[in-house]
C-alpha cells in the first residue's frame, strides 16, 4: 500500500466579497501574485490587498510546471537572485505551516559535448563564488549518484560529466500556491477568483483603479503577475513589455516505485525529469518555437523528448505517457525575469520568467512586494527592471548558457 500524502489543513482560504477599493490590487492569483500579497502583508503590513484572477487560483503556470527549484545559473546576477530564492524556499514550508513536499534531492545537469563541459565548469565555479552550491561530476560519479543514468559511450550523445547542485529541490506545486493563499487570506488579503481585469483607470500616467468583469476597483497601486499573458495586461495598462508568449509542454507517467531520487537534466538533448512523491515521472522539454496562447504544443516535441529520456535512462523505456499538457510562458529577450516599475506610475510588473518561474516564486513575490511598498526595487531585483532593454544592460542568461530558463 502506498504511503498517504500529507494531509492538507482543514481550511485554506476565504471566498470574500469584492470591495470597491484596495490599497493594492494584484492581478494574477498564481504563485507570484499570491506570494506578493503574502509578503505585502507580512513584510510591509499592507493587508488591504486584493488578488484578482480570471480563473481559479494557482491555475496558470503554477498548476502546469515541473517544479524544479535550483540556482545554478551562469551569470553572477542570476545566480545571486535565484540562490536567494532557494534560501527562501529552505524553511518556507515551516514559515507557511504547510507541508508542500519540498524535497532537496539534488539536480544533475549532464554535459554531452566539450563545449558543454567547459560551460559546466564555468557554471560550477562561478556558482560557488556566488554562494550557491555546485559540483562537477565525472560520468562515473554521475553513475554512483544516480545509477539509472546511461554513461555508456555507445550512445549518440555520451555523458561527458555533469554539474550537480545538491540543494536543488522539487515541491508540490499546487500546494505551494495554496500555502501562500492560505496565509495571505488569513492576514486579510482578499482572493477574488473568476474575475477578469479588463482595463486600468488612470489619471494621466498614474493608475487610480482597475476595471474588472465585476466592476471597477479603486486603487493606487497595482502589481501585475500574469505569466503567459503579461503583454496583454501591459497593453491594457498602456505600456509594452519585451515578451513573447510561447507554449511549454510537460508530461507525466503513471506511478512507479522509486527509481529516480534526484532531478536529471540534459540541455543538449532537451529533457528534464524527476520522480514526484506519488511516484510519477515528471518531465519537461523545450518551448515550442512560435508565439502561442493555446497552451498546447506539437507532439513531435514530446516524441523527441521521450527518445532522449530513453537514451539517457534506459529503464524508462516501458514507462507510459499518461498525460501531456501545455502552459503559456513569457519569453524575454535575455531569458531573465522582469520585476520592477513600469512607465505607468503605480503599476509594477513581474513577468518574463520563461519556463522557470516556479523556482522564483518566493523571490518574485518578495521583490515585487518590496517594489510596490517602497516604489523602488529591492537590492535583489535592481538589475531586473524593464529599463534594461533600453540601456542594453541585459542579464543575458540565454546567450551565456544557451538555455531557456
Amino acid at each position: 500500500m502506498a504511503d498517504l500524502l500529507p494531509e492538507h489543513p482543514d481550511f485554506l482560504w476565504r471566498n470574500p466579497r469584492l470591495k470597491s477599493s484596495y490599497d493594492v490590487v494584484i492581478v494574477g492569483a498564481g504563485g507570484h501574485g499570491l506570494a506578493t500579497a503574502y509578503y505585502l502583508a507580512k513584510e510591509h503590513g499592507i493587508t488591504n490587498v486584493a488578488v484578482i484572477d480570471k480563473g481559479w487560483l494557482g491555475g496558470g503556470n503554477m498548476a502546469r510546471n515541473t517544479t524544479i527549484i535550483r540556482s545554478n545559473y551562469m551569470l553572477d546576477k542570476s545566480t545571486r537572485f535565484f540562490d536567494r530564492s532557494l534560501q527562501m524556499w529552505e524553511g518556507l514550508d515551516e514559515e507557511l505551516e504547510y507541508d508542500f513536499l519540498f524535497s532537496q534531492r539534488g539536480l544533475i545537469t549532464l554535459a554531452h559535448t566539450d563545449a558543454e563541459v567547459r560551460e559546466s565548469i564555468r557554471r560550477v565555479e562561478s556558482n560557488v563564488l556566488n554562494g550557491a552550491d555546485a559540483e562537477w561530476l565525472t560520468p562515473q560519479e554521475v553513475k554512483e549518484l544516480l545509477p539509472i543514468v546511461n554513461i555508456s559511450d555507445a550512445i549518440r550523445h555520451p555523458v561527458m560529466g555533469a554539474t550537480y547542485q545538491a540543494r536543488a529541490a522539487i515541491a508540490k506545486h499546487d500546494h505551494v500556491a495554496w500555502a501562500y493563499a492560505r496565509k495571505a487570506s488569513a492576514m486579510g488579503v482578499d482572493i477574488i477568483q473568476n474575475t477578469e481585469v479588463t482595463g486600468f483607470l488612470k489619471d494621466g500616467d498614474k493608475v487610480i483603479g482597475v476595471e474588472t468583469t465585476r466592476g471597477n476597483i479603486a486603487t493606487e497601486k497595482v502589481g501585475i503577475a500574469v505569466a503567459g499573458h503579461s503583454s496583454l495586461l501591459a497593453e491594457k495598462a498602456g505600456f509594452q513589455v519585451p515578451i513573447q508568449s510561447r507554449t511549454l509542454q510537460a508530461l507525466v507517467s503513471e506511478l512507479f516505485e522509486p527509481v529516480h531520487p534526484m532531478i536529471l537534466t540534459s540541455h543538449h538533448i532537451h529533457v528534464y525529469v524527476s520522480q514526484a512523491h506519488k511516484g510519477e515521472l515528471v518531465m519537461g522539454a523545450n518551448t515550442d518555437p512560435y508565439t502561442a496562447y493555446g497552451a498546447r504544443g506539437g507532439f513531435h516535441t514530446i516524441e523527441r523528448q521521450l527518445a532522449a529520456a530513453v537514451e539517457l535512462v534506459p529503464i524508462f523505456a516501458r514507462a507510459h505517457l499518461i498525460r501531456v499538457w501545455g502552459g503559456v510562458v513569457d519569453i524575454s529577450p535575455d531569458s531573465t525575469p522582469i520585476i520592477g516599475k513600469t512607465p505607468v506610475e503605480g503599476i509594477y510588473i513581474n513577468c518574463g520568467w520563461g519556463s522557470g518561474g516556479f523556482k522564483g516564486t518566493p523571490i518574485g513575490g518578495y521583490t515585487l512586494a518590496h517594489t510596490i511598498a517602497h516604489d523602488e526595487p529591492h537590492e535583489y531585483n535592481k538589475h531586473f527592471g524593464l529599463d534594461r532593454y533600453y540601456t542594453g544592460h541585459l542579464v543575458d542568461e540565454h546567450s551565456a548558457s544557451g538555455v531557456l530558463h
Binding site: V241, P242, I243, T291, Y293, F299, H300, T391
Partner: protein, 99 residues
C-alpha cells in the same frame, strides 16, 4: 504538428519551417537617426497579441524562402500566407473555424 502553406511548395509540416517573429517591422532606414530608446524598441520589442498576428516564416528545409503569414496565436490557424513586401491581408478576427 501544424500544416503550413508555403507559398511556393504548398502544404508542409511545421518542422520544415523556422519562425521569424513579427512581420512588417522593417530595418530602420537610418539607424543612426534613431534615439537609443527608439533603437532599443526596434531591437527588443515585438507585438505579442492573442489572436491574429502577422508573422515571418521561412521554409527552411524546403525552398528557403521567407514569407509572411497571418496566424491566430490561439487556434494556431494560418489564415493566409503572402509574399514578403506585400501588405497584410485584411482578415476579420473570427474567420472560419478551428482546423
Amino acid at each position: 504538428m501544424m500544416l503550413i502553406d508555403c507559398p511556393h511548395c504548398g502544404l508542409r509540416d511545421e518542422t520544415e519551417f523556422e519562425y521569424g517573429s513579427q512581420a512588417h517591422v522593417p530595418y530602420p532606414q537610418d539607424p543612426q537617426a534613431l534615439t537609443n530608446d527608439e533603437w532599443a524598441q526596434w531591437l527588443y520589442f515585438r507585438d505579442n497579441p492573442m489572436g491574429l498576428r502577422a508573422e515571418r516564416w521561412v521554409h527552411l528545409t524546403g525552398c528557403r524562402k521567407w514569407f509572411n503569414a497571418v496566424r491566430d496565436t490561439v487556434s494556431y490557424e494560418f489564415k493566409a500566407t503572402y509574399p514578403v513586401g506585400t501588405p497584410r491581408p485584411n482578415i476579420p478576427p473570427h474567420h472560419g473555424g478551428i482546423r
